[in-house]
C-alpha cells in the first residue's frame, strides 16, 4: 500500500509540474505570436501593447525586444529603438538582426559605436566569466598534477604552461568588462536629445548635450534627476524621464 501511495503521489506531482510549465510557457508564446500577428497586419500599437505586457511579465526573448525596437523605429523614436535593440543583444549577443539594425540606427543619427571591440566584449561578459571559471579549474588541475602526480607530472606541466597564461588573459578581460551590458546601472538616452547639467535643476549649466541612444552609467538618483557618468569621463545630472535602463527593472 505504501509503495502504491508514493507512486500515485509522484505521478500527480509530475503531472502538476508539466501542466504548470506548459500553461506558463504556452501563454507567453501565444501572446508573443499575437503581437507578431498584429505587427504583420500593421497594427503596431496593438503589437507594442502585447510586447510590453510580455516584458512586464519578465520575458527576455531577444526577438521580443527586436520586434519592439522596430516598432519604435517606425514611430521615429530612435532612442527607444536603440534601447530595445541593445536589450535584444544583451539577451542574445549573437542575434545578428538586432546588431545590424542597431548599427544602422546609430549610423543614421551619427552616433556610431566609438569602441566596437569593447562593445563586443561587453556584450559577451557572461562568456568571459564562464571561460575564466573553466580556465581557473583547468589551471588548478594542471598545477595539481604537476605538483603531486609522478606519472602525469610532465603532462601537468605542459597543461599548466598552456592554461595559466590564457587564464590570466581571460581574467583580465573579465575584470575589464565586469558585468558588461548586463550592468543594471547602464542606461541610454531615449529622447531625441537631453542635456546633462552640473546640478539637478533645469536652470543649472549644461555639461554636454546627449543625442538619442547615447549610453551612460547611472550613479545616484535625486527626485526627477539622476547623476550619471559618460564614457568620456564627464558626469552630471540628467532628467530621469529622458533615460531608460538597459536592463528593465
Amino acid at each position: 500500500m505504501g509503495k502504491g501511495v508514493i507512486k500515485r503521489a509522484l505521478i500527480a506531482a509530475s503531472a502538476w509540474i508539466l501542466v504548470a510549465y506548459s500553461v506558463s510557457g504556452g501563454a507567453e508564446l501565444v501572446t508573443l505570436e499575437k503581437g507578431n500577428q498584429a505587427y504583420r497586419e500593421g497594427k503596431y500599437e496593438e503589437a507594442r501593447a502585447n510586447y510590453l505586457q510580455l516584458i512586464s511579465a519578465g520575458a527576455t526573448a531577444p526577438e521580443l525586444f527586436y520586434n519592439l525596437g522596430n516598432i519604435w523605429l517606425k514611430d521615429g523614436e530612435q532612442g527607444r529603438a536603440i534601447l530595445n535593440f541593445r536589450r535584444s543583444l544583451v539577451s542574445d549577443p549573437n542575434f545578428t538582426p538586432a546588431q545590424r539594425n542597431l548599427d544602422s540606427v546609430l549610423h543614421s543619427i551619427g552616433n556610431a559605436e566609438e569602441h566596437p571591440f569593447y562593445q563586443w566584449l561587453r556584450l559577451r561578459s557572461d562568456f568571459w566569466f564562464a571561460l575564466t571559471a573553466i580556465l581557473f579549474w583547468l589551471t588548478a588541475i594542471a598545477a595539481l598534477l604537476w605538483a603531486a602526480s609522478q606519472r602525469l607530472r610532465t603532462a601537468g606541466k605542459i597543461a599548466l604552461l598552456v592554461f595559466a597564461p590564457i587564464f590570466v588573459l581571460s581574467l583580465a578581460v573579465t575584470l575589464w568588462v565586469g558585468e558588461g551590458m548586463k550592468d543594471p546601472n547602464l542606461a541610454v538616452v531615449v529622447d531625441q536629445s537631453s542635456d546633462v547639467r552640473f546640478g539637478p535643476a533645469a536652470s543649472s549649466r549644461i555639461v554636454v548635450t546627449l543625442g538619442a541612444g547615447q549610453e551612460l552609467k547611472l550613479l545616484t538618483e535625486r527626485g526627477d534627476w539622476t547623476f550619471c557618468r559618460l564614457d568620456s569621463g564627464l558626469s552630471g545630472w540628467i532628467h530621469t524621464q529622458s533615460i531608460e535602463r538597459i536592463i528593465p527593472k
Binding site: 522596430n70 544602422s104 564562464a130 588541475i141 536629445s193 555639461v207
Partner: protein, 581 residues
C-alpha cells in the same frame, strides 16, 4: 669724458635750430565706442617739458608718455619731443580734435586738426576685446534647416605673452544651449593675429552644430577652461602697445601669475527651420546638403552567379552621417546582398566628404545592365528636395539561368520567420518567431552556475586528497604499527607466563621512544631507549631490573614466576616511563 661733453656742447651751441613745427597723428582715424586709439604729438626744434593740453567733447584724452629725440644729419641737427596721448571715445559719432597750438616768442605754430570717427560696438565682437584674453563664437549663418550642419568656430584669444593650455588637458569647449548636436572637434588650430594694435595668439576650435528641432536655437556661449600663466605687468596705459609691451625680453613685467580661467564666448542665435513635407521623396532619409552621385560596376564582364561589386559614390557637403545607401530599382534578376559603406572625410569636421557604398550583387540570369539607383536629399540653398537618379550601367553577364531565381526585393514586411531586409532603410525588419531564450541575469549571479562549480571543485579536492592523503597515510604507517604493537604488548603484561610479561614490558620501554619519534625512528635497543630519556634515577633502576629479569628469564632459562605485587610494580614502572616527558 670731459672732452666729449665739451664737444657735445660745442655741437649744440653751433646748431642751427631749424624750422619749428608741431605735428599730430592718430593711430587710427576710426574706432568703436570704448575702443582707445593713440594720439602722437611731435614738436620739432622746440624745447618744452610740459605736454600741451588737448581736449575734445565726447572724447576722453589722457596723457600717457613722453620721449625726446635728437638727430644730426649732414651737420643739421633736429631735436624733437614726442607726446603720446590715449583717446577713449565715450559715444559714437564724428569728433574733431582741435589743433595743438604753441606760442614761440609771439609766433604761433599749430598742427592740423584731426577727425576721429567712432562707430557703434560690433555686435558679434566680444564685449571687451581689449582684455588680455577673451573668447569669440563665430557662426556664419543665422538660419538653417533641421539636420543641416552649420560649421562654427570657437576662438579663444590670448595676449601674446600669456602661456595657456586647456584645463584639464584635452578638455573641449562646451557650447551652452539645447536642441542641437555637436559634431566632433578636430585638434584646435593656433595662429597669431593683430587686433586693435595688439598681438594675440588665437586658439581655434572648429566644429559643426546641427539643429534637431525647428525653432530658435540659442547658443548662449561656449565655455572652455584654461590654465594660464599671466605676466604681472607694469602699469601701462590700456589700449596700445609700446615697444616693450610686446617684447618677451622687456622688463615690462616682473613675473608670472598662474591662474585657472573659464573663458566664455559671446552667444549667437540660429533660426532652425523644419524640413518641408511637401515634395518629400519616398526614399528621403534625412540627408541635408549638396551632393552628387556617381556609380560603377566591377567587373563589366562576368558569368551568371558571379559576385560583382556595384559601387556608388556620394560626394559633396552636408550631414554625411544621414546619407544612406541609394535605393536600387527592384529587378528580379539581381540578388543584392548586404550593403557596406566607407567614408572619406575631406575637411576637419567631416562636412565635406565622399561616401562610398558597396553592393555585392549576383545575377541569377544573363543580363546587360545593372539596377538603376536613386538618392534623395534636401538642398538648403535651393530650399527644395533633390533626387539624383543614376541610369543603369552596361554590363555583360552570360551563362545559364540559375535554377532558383531570387524573389524580387519587397520593402514590405516579411511573413517568414527569417529576417528580411528593407532596402529603403537598410534595416532588417520583423522576426516573427518567438523563442523564450536569453536572460538579463549575469552568470555571476546565477546560483546554477555556482552549483556547477562544485563539480570541478570536487575533482580538484579529490585529486588533492588522493595524493596528499596517501602520502600522509604512508608517513604514518610505522607509527600506526608501533601504536598497535603497544596496545598488544599492554595486553601481554597480564600474561601468566613471566617470560611473556617481562618481554612485553621491555618492548613497551622501546616502543615509547619509537612512538615519540612518530615513525622517524624504526628501531632502538632497550638500553639506548633507557639512556636517551631523562627520567628519575629510581625509575631508571627499576626498569633496569625489569630488563635484567627478562634477560635472565629468556637467555639464562631461569624459571621465574611473577607475583601479583611484581606485576603491579612492573605496570607502575611502565606507566611512569610512558608519562615521563
Amino acid at each position: 669724458m670731459k672732452l666729449a661733453l665739451l664737444f657735445l656742447l660745442c655741437v649744440v651751441a653751433r646748431t642751427d635750430p631749424g624750422e619749428s613745427k608741431v605735428q599730430a597723428t592718430l593711430s587710427s582715424d576710426h574706432t568703436t565706442v570704448a575702443q582707445p586709439v593713440q594720439l602722437q604729438v611731435e614738436v620739432r626744434n622746440v624745447r618744452m617739458a610740459e605736454p600741451p593740453n588737448i581736449s575734445a567733447d565726447g572724447l576722453s584724452i589722457r596723457f600717457a608718455s613722453q620721449s625726446t629725440r635728437m638727430q644730426t644729419l649732414k651737420g643739421d641737427t633736429t631735436f624733437s619731443v614726442n607726446f603720446t596721448y590715449v583717446i577713449t571715445p565715450q559715444r559714437e559719432g564724428t569728433f574733431s580734435i582741435p589743433p595743438v597750438k604753441l606760442n614761440l616768442n609771439g609766433r604761433e605754430i599749430q598742427s592740423a586738426p584731426l577727425t576721429l570717427t567712432v562707430l557703434k560696438e560690433e555686435p558679434n565682437k566680444p564685449a571687451e576685446p581689449n582684455k588680455s584674453y577673451f573668447g569669440e563664437l563665430v557662426v556664419p549663418k543665422d538660419s538653417a534647416y533641421v539636420g543641416e550642419p552649420v560649421p562654427v568656430e570657437l576662438r579663444y584669444y590670448f595676449d601674446r605673452r600669456i602661456w595657456y593650455q586647456p584645463y584639464p588637458q584635452g578638455q573641449l569647449p562646451i557650447i551652452d544651449g539645447d536642441g542641437f548636436v555637436t559634431a566632433k572637434y578636430p585638434d584646435p588650430a593656433e595662429k597669431e593675429v593683430q587686433m586693435n594694435g595688439r598681438w594675440y595668439r588665437v586658439l581655434i576650435y572648429k566644429t559643426a552644430i546641427t539643429g534637431v528641432r525647428a525653432g530658435q536655437l540659442d547658443l548662449r556661449s561656449a565655455n572652455q577652461e584654461f590654465l594660464l600663466h599671466v605676466p604681472v605687468l607694469r602699469n601701462t596705459p590700456p589700449g596700445f602697445d609700446d615697444d616693450f609691451d610686446q617684447s618677451p625680453f622687456s622688463n615690462g613685467f616682473s613675473g608670472y601669475e598662474r591662474k585657472e580661467a573659464s573663458i566664455a564666448t559671446n552667444g549667437a542665435t540660429i533660426q532652425i527651420k523644419a524640413l518641408p513635407t511637401e515634395g518629400r521623396p519616398g526614399n528621403f532619409n534625412g540627408a541635408v546638403g549638396t551632393f552628387t552621385m556617381t556609380g560603377s560596376i566591377q567587373p563589366t564582364h562576368a558569368g551568371v552567379g558571379d559576385p560583382l561589386d556595384l559601387r556608388f559614390q556620394i560626394s559633396g557637403n552636408g550631414n554625411f552621417d544621414r546619407v544612406q545607401a541609394p535605393v536600387l530599382a527592384a529587378t528580379p534578376v539581381w540578388r543584392i546582398h548586404q550593403v557596406t559603406s566607407e567614408i572619406e572625410e575631406q575637411d576637419d569636421i567631416g562636412l565635406i566628404a565622399v561616401k562610398t557604398f558597396h553592393y555585392p550583387i549576383v545575377a541569377s540570369a544573363p543580363v546587360h545592365e545593372t539596377p538603376a539607383a536613386s538618392f534623395s536629399y534636401f538642398d538648403p540653398e535651393q530650399e527644395k528636395y533633390v533626387t539624383l537618379d543614376l541610369a543603369p550601367k552596361e554590363i555583360n553577364v552570360e551563362g545559364q539561368q540559375l535554377s532558383q531565381p531570387s524573389p524580387p526585393q519587397n520593402p514590405n514586411l516579411s511573413q517568414s520567420t527569417s529576417p528580411s531586409r528593407n532596402p529603403n532603410s537598410g534595416l532588417t525588419d520583423l522576426v516573427a518567431k518567438g523563442e523564450t531564450r536569453g536572460s538579463f541575469e549575469p552568470v555571476s549571479r546565477d546560483s546554477g552556475f555556482w552549483l556547477i562549480q562544485l563539480i570541478p571543485a570536487a575533482i580538484v579536492v579529490g585529486l588533492a586528497i588522493n595524493y596528499w592523503g596517501k602520502r600522509w597515510l604512508q608517513e604514518r604507517a610505522p607509527l600506526r604499527t608501533f601504536l598497535a604493537d603497544r596496545r598488544s604488548q599492554r595486553r601481554k603484561l597480564d600474561s601468566p607466563k613471566a617470560e611473556v610479561a617481562l618481554s612485553a614490558a621491555v618492548r613497551l620501554i622501546q616502543l615509547d621512544q619509537l612512538v615519540r619519534a612518530k615513525g622517524a625512528l624504526r628501531h632502538i635497543t632497550v638500553e639506548d631507549a633507557l639512556q636517551q630519556k631523562q627520567v628519575p634515577e629510581d625509575l631508571r633502576n627499576g626498569l633496569s631490573r625489569v630488563i635484567e629479569k627478562r634477560a635472565n628469564c629468556v637467555y639464562a632459562h631461569q624459571a621465574y614466576t611473577l607475583s601479583s605485587a611484581e606485576r603491579t610494580e612492573i605496570k607502575e614502572l611502565i606507566d611512569a616511563w610512558e608519562k615521563a616527558s
